[in-house]
Amino acid sequence: MNNHILNHLPYKSSFRFVDNISLLSENEVRGEYTLKQDSFFYEDHFAGNPVTPGVIITEIMAQIGLVVMGIFLMLKESDLNFDDDTDLYPLLTSTEVSFFKMVLPGQKVTVVSKKQYFRFGKLKCYVEMLDSEQEVVARGMFSGIIKHIELKK
């Protein structure tokens, strides 16, 4: 069972883009998400012609490919407790993504992430998104850190 890791994700409801983690290891993560027909962004992107925005594709890739692996690696190597520590947030530090195919409402996508390195708290991964025909939807390099920040005033 890999899905216990999902309890540590800080994203809720309309901004959580992970349904299932089918592979979770120190070097590779694979996960799935099905785009909801009634997601908030389809109403306006585009009116009468719903297409998943590139930023949402990027976010799905980052949540599965980077944040899930990052939390897994950090839980493994330290005694950090994500449940008690409410000031701990994953931050995206850079991305470079190429897009190849459109993703429509209701479509299921698979994200496969391969670790490039995890050092000094920074995780860098090569991430691909595939559609149900196993064709590449998007691919790119993602980097991020998990950091203590006090967002509340």
């Binding site: 530090t93 850079s94 050092r119 980097s143």
Partner: protein, 85 residues
């Protein structure tokens, strides 16, 4: 390797991570990587990894912490190269 030689090579290591190319050409030991060269703090990790590969050294967490300006980068790189020699 002299400090000047390391500094000149360091420019090539840093180059992919800054858009301030004019400023990079004129760096000295006091140049701050984040404040002066406007390098994304997470890219400091890439600079450290690239420096490790270039000089065939290993930089630990404590040493990496010191590498905030050009001078301290040269300190750490020459220290690690001497350890190896």
């Amino acid at each position: 390797m002299t400090r000047t030689e390391i500094l000149n090579e360091l420019k090539k290591v840093i180059s992919p991570y800054t858009v301030n190319k004019d400023q990079l050409a004129n760096i000295d030991e006091q140049t701050d990587l984040i404040k002066d060269l406007k390098i994304n703090s997470a890219n400091l990790v890439d600079i450290i990894i690239d420096a490790e590969a270039k000089y065939d050294i290993e930089i630990d967490y404590d040493s990496a912490d010191k590498m905030v300006n050009v001078g301290t980068c040269i300190d750490v790189i020459s220290e690690k190269m001497n350890e190896k020699a």
